[in-house]
């Protein structure tokens, strides 16, 4: 670190303690997530590092908890449910959310802020209240304890993310591009698919990923709306944490961390591509 010459000893101490503090915060943010990865390979059924693990003895490590997941059909079953529900609700949320964002970003949209307020509300209202409301609603229309009910409920929760990300992409959208396309003879459908769509696609995809992770990670609504047949991974984990916490949970958690790292990387790459396309350079 090169300090300006006028910086006194006090300034240096202040600077180093600042860096130290930031380092601590980063550790606080990431360590809890990373620590479970090695622990999930523990050969013993403990939730802490054994002496063998610390001295890197190969016998102290094993993949028995991963084998456990494979052996237990419950996990495969709930993984299938999770993927079905998340995929379907993401599709629905993305479709409706993108259309709405296209409308909302037009200057002619009436009652814009009121409508936006309603559309964002699923993200703001405490989940327990949403879950309670939906419990009665879907019970009345006979969709409680069914996958379609769960899909619809999760789709509502996912839409605000799509609306926000797509509207954000559209705010930087240069409308002279659509005019140029139309003046060159393209009809409005062609303009949409050839000009608008490719430009807002990164926003749509990252919105969809947000919607996906929202559904994939959601447990409160599942708690109220799903029966045993509709158990998802988070619900299964919840039961695991509450009832018989075993290192199998850590193995599942590790798999989920890997999934989230993949999703995060995708969103980051999309964001950078989007900025590059719109001419806002990151460097």
């Amino acid at each position: 670190m090169v300090f300006p010459p006028h910086l006194g000893i006090g300034g240096k101490i202040a600077h180093y303690s600042f860096i130290l503090f930031c380092g601590f915060v980063f550790v606080f943010l990431v360590a809890p997530i990373l620590v479970i990865i090695p622990l999930s390979f523990n050969a013993e059924p403990y939730f802490t590092f054994t002496e063998g693990m610390i001295s890197f003895e190969p016998e102290a490590y094993s993949i028995r908890w991963y084998a456990d997941i494979a052996k237990n059909p419950q996990w495969a079953f709930s993984a299938a449910n999770s993927i079905i529900v998340a995929t379907c609700s993401t599709f629905l949320a993305t479709l409706l959310g993108t259309l709405a964002a296209l409308g909302l970003s037009q200057s002619h949209m009436p009652y814009k802020s009121a409508v936006m307020g309603v559309l964002i509300s699923p993200m703001i209202v405490p989940l327990i209240i949403s879950a309670a409301g939906m419990f009665f609603f879907y019970s009345n229309i006979g969709l409680a304890q069914t996958l379609p009910g769960l899909i619809l409920a999760h789709a509502v929760l996912g839409t605000p993310f799509v609306v926000i990300t797509v509207t954000a992409t559209l705010t930087g959208f240069d409308h002279s591009l659509t005019r140029a396309s139309q003046s060159l003879g393209a009809d409005s459908r062609k303009t949409f698919f050839k000009i608008q769509m490719p430009l807002i696609l990164p926003g749509v995809i990252s919105g969809a990923l947000f919607a996906f992770i929202t559904s994939f990670d959601e447990v409160v609504i599942v708690f109220f709306l799903a029966g045993f047949e509709q158990r998802t991974i988070p619900r299964q984990m919840w039961a695991g944490i509450r009832e018989q916490i075993s290192p199998t949970i850590l193995a599942v958690a590790t798999i989920l961390v890997v999934v989230s790292i993949l999703l995060l990387t995708t969103v980051e790459l999309l964001r950078r591509r989007n900025e590059r396309l719109r001419g806002i350079s990151t460097s």
């Binding site: 479970i36 802490t48 002619h108 609603f137 958690a253």
Partner: protein, 413 residues
């Protein structure tokens, strides 16, 4: 003044208006499907659920004639013979429709012990052959001979009531129709509301303290490095909540990693392992970590736009580094502080999962009690009343957020 006409002879103003209207309709049609979907499957169900907090149909529907009769009763002496007969007959009808359980449960929320009274009465009335129901009922259970019982019946018989809100605020209607506090051992909700606000406040403050320096660092570092560090902020944001909660249990429990390290470093003894989870401390630590990205991201996006030349100007005009920072830099970050604090506070005030899993007894928040009344005690009216109060608080904060920052400025990732 003549108006300007377009080529086909209509006034320009009209045809402009027409064109505008067409676009407005088109824009609205794009939004309509989602708006309808959210209104029907989200907004409406929530209002319907909240309506349960004032809706009180159980007695009014199942003992209609008794309740009607009681409305005319002045409440000083026992009701007349006819009312006794009505209640006995209607309880039998209710039994045939298997509604007795509901009636008994509803009354029991109000006054403990009334469940057994109703069940006992129904059992005995079935076998009763006589005509003097007044004498018989009082003989079955002497509470029928007390004016207080009938007053409870009359009060719970009202179709719409604010009594759930009283209960949610630890108040109740006394036998003489005055409003007073619940008995000491039933006074819990005000305490829980205050605890929820206190925990949310602490979490917000902790997040701010941890996030401010980090956001400053991220905003001042070269973009290449800060983008890399930003991934460390975003990773928890994308990781499953249950995963993060699980890892806190693993880290903080008595035989967990943190206690092991503290013992290994001789900071605490083997017997002195600290209980850091399944209590309020656990809730605070886990919630702070989980909500920290929601503070860092808005702060960072504001700080990124602040030009370093202001600080340099202040320094060159003779301010000490600290003074320049406090007087010149910090005021410019207030929008970020406001956005982050409101967001974290809104999210933590309705938090459910983490307190439920790591909160133990002392870390339970209002959401957990709503869930308890929804799922276990089945006192939906009270759950709805507690939920309405919570929702109202959140909506006020949401309104403030929208006024100060604007929801359309909300950024993700």
């Amino acid at each position: 003044m003549t108006s300007i006409l377009t080529a086909d002879g209509t006034p320009l103003k009209d045809s402009l208006y027409k064109a505008e209207k067409g676009r407005r309709v088109k824009a609205f049609l794009l939004v309509a499907p989602l708006l309808l979907f959210v209104l029907v499957s989200f907004v409406f169900p929530i209002f319907e659920m909240l309506f349960r907090s004032v809706d009180n149909p159980v007695l009014a529907k199942n003992l209609p004639l008794t309740i009607e009769k009681l409305q005319k009763w002045e409440g000083t002496n026992l009701p007349d013979q006819e009312t006794f007969t009505l209640v006995a007959k209607e309880l039998l009808i209710a039994r045939e429709n298997s509604k007795v359980g509901k009636i008994a449960a509803r009354l029991n929320f109000e006054a403990g012990g009334m469940r057994s009274m109703i069940n006992k009465t129904v059992r005995k009335v079935r076998k009763y052959k006589g005509n003097d129901y007044k004498k018989a009922l009082i003989q079955f259970d002497k509470r029928w001979g007390k004016v207080v019982t009938w007053k409870v019946l009359k009060r719970i018989g009202q179709r719409y009531t604010g009594v759930q809100y009283l209960a949610a605020l630890d108040l109740k209607v006394n036998a003489d129709n005055t409003i007073g506090f619940q008995s000491e051992d039933r006074r819990i909700y005000v305490k829980i509301f205050l605890r929820t606000i206190w925990v949310s406040f602490l979490v917000t403050i902790f997040c701010l303290i941890l996030a401010y320096p980090v956001s400053f660092l991220l905003a001042t570092l070269p973009l290449r490095i800060s983008n890399l560090l930003l991934i460390m902020v975003l990773l928890p944001f994308w990781t499953s909540l249950l995963v993060r909660t699980t890892s806190w249990i693993v880290l903080l429990q008595r035989n967990g990693v943190v206690n092991d390290i503290l013992v290994a470093l001789n900071i605490i003894s083997e017997d002195g392992r600290i209980q850091m989870i399944y209590n309020q401390t656990g809730t605070l630590i886990a919630m702070t970590q989980i909500l920290l990205p929601f503070m860092i991201l808005p702060l960072y996006s504001v700080m990124k736009t602040i030009s370093p030349s202001y600080m340099r100007a202040a320094r060159s005009l003779g301010a000490s580094p600290l003074k320049a920072f406090v007087r010149v830099y910090m005021p410019q970050t207030t929008p970020g502080i406001g956005a982050g604090c409101l967001l974290v506070f809104i999210l933590s005030i309705g938090y459910y999962i983490t307190p439920a899993l790591v909160g133990g007894r002392s870390g339970q928040l209002i959401s957990n009690f709503i869930a308890y009344h929804m799922k276990s005690s089945l006192n939906w009216g009270l759950a709805a009343a507690l939920g309405t109060i919570l929702l109202f608080a959140v909506l006020i904060l949401y309104y403030l957020y929208n006024k100060i920052i604007g929801i359309d400025k909300m950024k993700l990732g």
